[in-house]
Symmetry: C5
Subunit: 87 residues, 5 copies
């Protein structure tokens, strides 16, 4: 999983029916130092994260688990809001 900051929202015509009602957030992966690393991506949100918050997310099939039993076609999903990082 990676750390990220929520930087925006994305609205799509939910052409794929199983995406109906799924919140899509634009996130920027960050290092533990909070420096941006890599490219922004769109992730499904199931935890109610807001713009500016630090979250962590999973990639791949696991991103669809919180939406089961619906088969949501997502490959990235926010699964928690970060309370603390201790290094």
């Amino acid at each position: 999983m990676q750390l990220a900051r929520v930087i925006g929202t994305v609205v799509v015509t939910p052409k794929d029916g199983n995406l109906h009602g799924v919140t899509l957030l634009l996130i920027q992966p960050i290092a533990p130092s909070r420096t941006p690393v890599g490219k922004p991506l769109v992730a499904a949100d199931s935890v109610g994260a807001g713009v500016g918050e630090e979250v962590f997310f999973v990639r791949g099939k696991e991103a669809s688990f919180p939406f089961h039993p619906v088969d949501v076609p997502v490959d990235a999903g926010i699964v928690g809001v970060v309370d603390a990082i201790d290094t």
Copy 2:
């Protein structure tokens, strides 16, 4: 998921029978600023996207969900047309 712009079409001899009738589009991933990022790729289209449109797509097994119950061998699929990106 990532944002992308549809930049062309690809026609293949559908040697794999399960690809018969699947629309294949050439897409260029973009950043929220619309700058191209990374390499173009071929994605299956199930939403009727056209050349020049901004879409978002999934990678991996999830790309085949819209075509179920047929097992389409695709690893990238367009799942929506972008209405708005708010950062």
Copy 3:
């Protein structure tokens, strides 16, 4: 999926029994402009592609679909020969 050119063949002692009889080709991913992008890789071929041909391939679990019901341990597979790319 990505575009690629077939650049060679690979012969292996088929230590994994499920690979017996599977044709393995060396492919070089290419951009729509036909410029090489990234590293060559080995892909399973189920479409009878020949050296020098332009193909497109899938990565991941989907690469094994054409060989079902045998569980072939492959993570890249050629699924079509490119007829035309229109940009």
Copy 4:
């Protein structure tokens, strides 16, 4: 799988219920020479690894195996502590 060093811990509001009680560690992938390679990431720990230890981890769906039958939404997991690397 890759080698890594445990460099910290991460505490999250376990918004995804299936993550409750799962230890999350911050790890830095390393080369056999112990030089850092690539970006830090967050991995689920099922082996009781401590900060400073050398571990190896898996990415993808396999990362959730140690937690079965719970479907934990993780895409990286520590599966062993390194005793020796012989090159």
Copy 5:
């Protein structure tokens, strides 16, 4: 799949029980020219490969196929020893 050279062995405290008895080798991906490309990684070996040999390996879920029905948590596996590469 990618080509690689076996460069060492890794011994771990098999904290994950399903890894017990699985041989873990350190491999360096190589190009067809035999030049090293990218970072070394740890792969499960089911073909009896030795240090110095050229092999090819799969990434992802397919890496666990040779060990079925045990669910081994591995994301890279050697599936053959290279006899010849023809370009």
